[in-house]
């Protein structure tokens, strides 16, 4: 759709909004929460079966729906909870808050919350997966530590570059294209211990949603996906403690009321044992991580709710006398929910996020620190105008501060000179408007528009180049080389050196084919102004973020998706099929041999290229019963290309498209849970996927005593197919039934048949034989684990 056509339909829709008339309509609204803990519940179905109309609760447990006067049956349903049916006499506006009781029947185990009612089939939102923290905890994990990012890689369209690699890739997008929000705060690095674990403590998390496409206008700033994670508020009824002791980590969570039913606190900590990953003799070596999650929530009357939450996590590596490496995220945010009316919900967030990386190399007396910080102000409104029309609008301002690196000597005798890479500053603003409208009983639309604006502020030194080309092509050697700056300009922090703005239309529609199936289409344009400088196949913790500016343009994405969903009669099975195509402009690529570490003139090693990805995803779920779980299959391609800037240049990889490091043609996963009885639950997952694209040498030569492998075109070979089976068993002791202390044992085996999946194939010169050899490295063989979890 052209922008103009899009704008026309938007205006038409607005016309229908304000032209509408209401007669004898009343609003019913309130909060849905857990009866035991008073914790608000996200995504609960609030449904009127006779009308076949309904809504779901928002991220703060709030719902609002407006209907004609009358008497109705209201059904409140949430997987894992007992449904409640309430008779309602709607002759005035009603406040109705409902508390749901957790289902303790055998069939409680629920894998994915979605689509149990036609409400969701009808929702225009597509390409979304939701997981509860229970699901995450049920999936067998490496070394028994449940992991949120591992869990989402079992979903269709989500992969990572390989075992032991950081982050995750959504629909062929890079790791830095995921917007990861923890209680609305941006998280820059989602991995602990180089991707072995993620930074999210499943105990402290209530709910998460992953948007892979059709991303609504309220989100922006990253191209590929939104991972929206909400922390628990804490139990406001009674004090609770739960925890776990595992072979690699332990954790403890405390929660309880500050003021009964009004305010609550939550405090959760988690850490691994220090020496685990370094089986070296010296006792002064450590490698561990820890994180802390905190939350305070307090209700100020009927209309206002205050929430404060924080996260602090660090990875620490230290080898005695050699180096010390610490890095991690910290976020703090303060939110204020306010109900302007029973139809207008608002949330104001003030957020600080920070990523820190520090490295001290004692043996060369070198100290390095880098990081990124942002101050983020968000004001979001959700306006439940009528049963058929919901508006969401808001604004978002982020001030970014980048520290690409400060180098210090660690002693007066050090040979290192103090050096500070040029600090960078930017201001990112956006306003958005989003309307969800039921056009007919069968057709629903979500139309949105986001306007984003990015200002890059001045920095001390800014290089200027001849013809504005920081990278030049050397036609003698047919290679790209860094240009020398022609001059250096100086700016103040308040000077504007570049601005960008983009209109980002979003559109999605659903059409109900019949009661049990629907078709959906979506289009979204996204822009991304920050770039993670990384030329390894998955990011490393020391990679730095850099803003768009004079030399780096914002990345732009267009994504198109179509989908079909079907549910069996009682909702116990569901099938989702989706196809997508995405095209990305201004994807940066690195010239051969680019050095990114401590590079203060990064523009000299990058070129603007493009990327594309397309694929087909299938997700078959069994939601109910003793045996439940899902099968996911994805066929996809992910490629990038950097053509020459003019006819004489070759471009990168001779200007040809090449596979990204996370291109996985086939990706199959199966996740299953079987609940035998109250005491025993069995979990397993199986994954099989095409090997990671790699390079094999096509020749060797010797220079200066080194045997050098020579390579042809990029990523034209692959590692062997990856597959793995994990199982775990959860045992709840019989003693649990009549006591406060509830314990459970989890026994697990990662990689049951001990397949040595290749993480890499290296080519090297064997010094003993003098011959070249290929060496396969695999990370984990069969890994048993045991952990004990408790709560009281």
């Amino acid at each position: 759709m052209s922008l103009r056509a899009w704008a026309c339909s938007f205006v038409l829709l607005l016309g229908s909004v304000f032209g509408g008339h209401a007669q004898n309509k009343h609003t019913i609204s309130g909060i849905i929460s857990d009866a035991a803990s008073n914790e608000t519940l996200i995504g609960v179905n609030v449904y009127f079966p006779n009308l076949q109309k309904g809504t779901i609760t928002n991220a703060y447990g709030f719902y609002s729906i407006t209907l004609d006067e009358g008497t109705y049956d209201l059904l409140v349903q949430f997987l894992g909870y007992e449904s409640q049916s309430i008779k309602i006499e709607l002759n005035k506006d009603i406040k109705l808050s409902v508390q749901l009781v957790e289902n303790t029947e055998e069939l409680e185990a629920v894998v994915i919350i979605t689509d149990i009612e036609a409400v969701n089939l009808r929702s225009p939102q597509m390409s979304i997966n939701a997981l509860t923290s229970n699901t995450v905890k049920q999936i067998p994990a490496v070394l028994g530590e449940p992991d949120l990012v591992k869990a989402i890689t079992f979903l269709p369209g989500v992969t990572n570059a390989g075992e032991g690699s950081s982050g995750f890739n959504v629909r062929g997008g890079s790791v830095d294209q995921n917007l990861i929000l923890l209680d609305e705060a941006i998280i820059y690095n989602s991995s602990h211990l180089f991707g072995l674990f993620s930074v999210f403590n499943p105990d402290a998390i209530k709910d998460l949603k992953l948007y892979k496409g059709g991303i609504p206008a309220r989100y922006g700033g990253r191209l590929s996906s939104v991972l929206d994670i909400y922390q628990k508020d804490g139990n406001s009824s009674e004090h609770k403690l739960n925890g776990g002791i595992g072979i690699v980590s332990s954790k403890l969570l405390a929660e309880g009321p500050i003021k009964k039913e009004i305010g609550s606190y939550l405090l959760a900590g988690r850490g691994t044992y220090a020496h685990l990953f370094l089986p070296l003799a010296d006792n002064n070596n450590v490698a561990y991580f820890y994180d802390l999650n905190t939350k305070l929530s307090y209700q100020l009357g009927d209309k206002d709710n205050l929430l404060a939450s924080g996260y602090f996590g660090r990875d620490v590596f230290s080898l005695d006398g050699s180096f010390r490496n610490i890095y991690g995220n910290a976020v703090f945010n303060l939110r204020w929910n306010h109900l302007f009316s029973d139809k207008l919900f608002s949330n104001l967030s003030m957020i600080y996020s920070d990523y820190y990386y520090g490295l001290r190399l004692d043996f060369v007396e070198f100290d390095w620190q880098s990081g990124i910080q942002n101050f983020n102000l968000k004001y979001d409104f959700k306006h439940y105008l009528s049963n058929d029309l919901t508006l969401q609008y808001g604004l978002n301002s982020i001030y970014h501060s980048f520290n690409p690196g400060v180098i210090k000597p660690t002693s007066t005798s050090s040979a290192i000179n103090y050096d500070e890479l040029t600090k960078k500053y930017a201001f990112e603003n956006a306003v958005y408007f989003e309307a969800t409208k039921n056009i007919t009983n069968k057709l629903a639309l979500n139309l949105g528009l986001r306007w984003s604006h990015f200002t890059r502020f001045g920095q001390d030194n800014l290089n200027k180049y001849e013809n504005n080309l920081p990278v030049v092509f050397n036609s003698d050697f047919q290679i790209y080389q860094s240009a020398d700056p022609a001059s250096i300009s100086h700016y103040k922090k308040s000077d504007v050196i570049a601005t960008f703005n983009n209109l980002e239309p979003r559109f999605s529609a659903s059409y109900l084919i019949n009661d049990k199936s629907s078709a959906k289409v979506s289009y979204n344009r996204m822009s991304q102004y920050l770039h993670l400088l990384s030329n390894t196949s998955s990011p490393t913790p020391l990679d730095v973020w850099t803003p768009s500016g004079s030399f780096i343009k914002p990345q732009l994405l267009d994504q198109y998706a179509i989908g079909y969903s079907h549910e069996s009669n009682n909702g116990s099975y569901s099938l989702e099929v989706e196809a997508y195509f995405k095209a990305i402009k201004n994807r940066i690529d690195y010239i051969d041999g680019a050095n990114l570490v401590a590079n203060d003139a990064i523009e000299q090693v990058i070129l603007n290229g493009r990327a594309r990805a397309y694929g087909l995803e299938l997700l078959l779920k069994k939601n109910l019963g003793r045996l439940n779980g899902w099968l996911a299959y994805t066929w996809s391609k992910s490629e990038q290309q950097t053509p020459g800037r003019n006819a004489t240049e070759t471009g990168i990889n001779n200007g040809k498209w090449y596979r990204t490091a996370f291109d996985k043609t086939h990706d199959f996963s199966a996740v299953a849970q079987y609940k035998l009885n109250e005491r025993w639950t069995f979990n397993s997952n199986f994954v099989m996927q095409t090997g990671q694209p790699v390079n094999y040498p096509n020749a060797q030569y010797v220079y200066n005593g080194l045997t050098i492998a020579s390579f042809g075109e990029r990523n034209s070979f692959r590692l062997p197919t990856y597959h793995r089976l994990d199982i775990s068993v959860t045992l709840s002791p019989r003693k649990n039934f009549d006591r406060k202390w509830q314990g459970e044992w989890v026994f697990g085996i990662y990689n049951v048949y001990g397949r040595k999946n290749a993480v890499s194939i290296a080519f090297r010169d064997n010094l003993d034989t003098g011959n070249n050899e290929a060496v396969k490295t695999s990370l984990f063989g069969l890994l048993p684990s045991v952990s004990y979890n408790f709560k009281f």
Partner: protein
């Protein structure tokens, strides 16, 4: 320094298990490889020099074929030609007529297989090795012998260095490539550690000056020879182009490099 930072990352994954596997790799047409390293060792006249020409071969082949029968010469900035004669059919071309001048520009000509190759480079000076020490707490695990060769970087020159550490029993050559980015004008050290090295063994340390282009070339080359090949920390392999061009057929470009440098050599015994 940047290699160090990568080293820190790769050492983390210690769960790993390695095995040598059989694998089929593609093969490409042979290319000429030029190792033209003109070194003027301190205390010598620098008249005796050699240039080694080889060809690329399939990755798992055990021999490196010499490029024999080439015409090799170097022209100095005064237009004097020095011819290099091949020693038999070894691909090693030698002369005893070379005159080194620091800071002077030289041009290398090679005629091989009917094609003409050329490269131009300037002779670099280098700081002497001030002192060599060894410590028994080297390596990342702190249990290796580590050798440090100290040198003093001249201020504000943008210097770069190649260090060679030669072990004799068994013979092994390790190189280190350094720039003065973080240490400009200071005394600093090149270092080397090996878990197999014993007290009492003798090593030779040599250093050479590099032009910025030669530094980039050797740095990339050393990365290339240690790239993990898949896995999270792999960078895309680069076609490592040196400073030699094929005038007859630019697409059939040669590998290797033509560099000239002053050099120091120190023998050191670990006592």
């Amino acid at each position: 320094m940047r290699n160090l930072i990568f080293l820190v990352i790769t050492v983390m994954i210690t769960f790993s298990c390695e095995e040598v596997i059989d694998i089929e790799v593609p093969s490409s047409e042979p290319r000429l490889v030029i190792e033209a390293s003109i070194n003027w060792f301190h205390g010598t006249v620098g008249n005796e020099q050699e240039i080694i020409l080889t060809l690329t071969s399939p990755y798992f082949d055990s021999n490196i074929p010499p490029a024999t029968g080439a015409d090799v010469s170097i022209t100095d900035s005064f237009g004097n030609d020095v011819l290099f004669q091949e020693e038999g059919e070894t691909g090693v071309y030698v002369t005893d007529q070379f005159t080194p001048i620091l800071g002077a520009s030289y041009k290398l000509h090679i005629n091989y297989n009917g094609e003409s190759f050329e490269a131009t480079e300037t002779m670099q000076s280098v700081s002497p090795i001030d002192e060599v020490i060894h410590e028994q707490t080297g390596g990342l695990a702190g249990d290796e012998i580590e050798v440090k060769a100290f040198y003093t970087d001249p201020l504000g020159m943008g210097n770069a260095y190649l260090f060679e550490f030669v072990e004799y029993e068994p013979f092994d050559l390790t190189i280190g490539v350094y720039e003065d980015k973080f240490i400009d004008g200071n005394q600093t050290f090149a270092y080397f550690s090996d878990e197999d090295i014993m007290l009492g063994s003798q090593i030779t340390i040599r250093n050479f000056g590099l032009s910025p282009q030669a530094y980039d070339y050797l740095f990339l080359l050393s990365l290339q020879s240690s790239n993990p090949g898949g896995g999270p920390f792999t960078t895309q392999p680069a076609t490592v182009r040196g400073n030699c061009v094929n005038l007859s057929d630019p697409n059939n470009f040669p590998f290797g490099y033509f560099r000239l440098s002053e050099a120091y050599s120190v023998d050191y015994t670990m006592e």
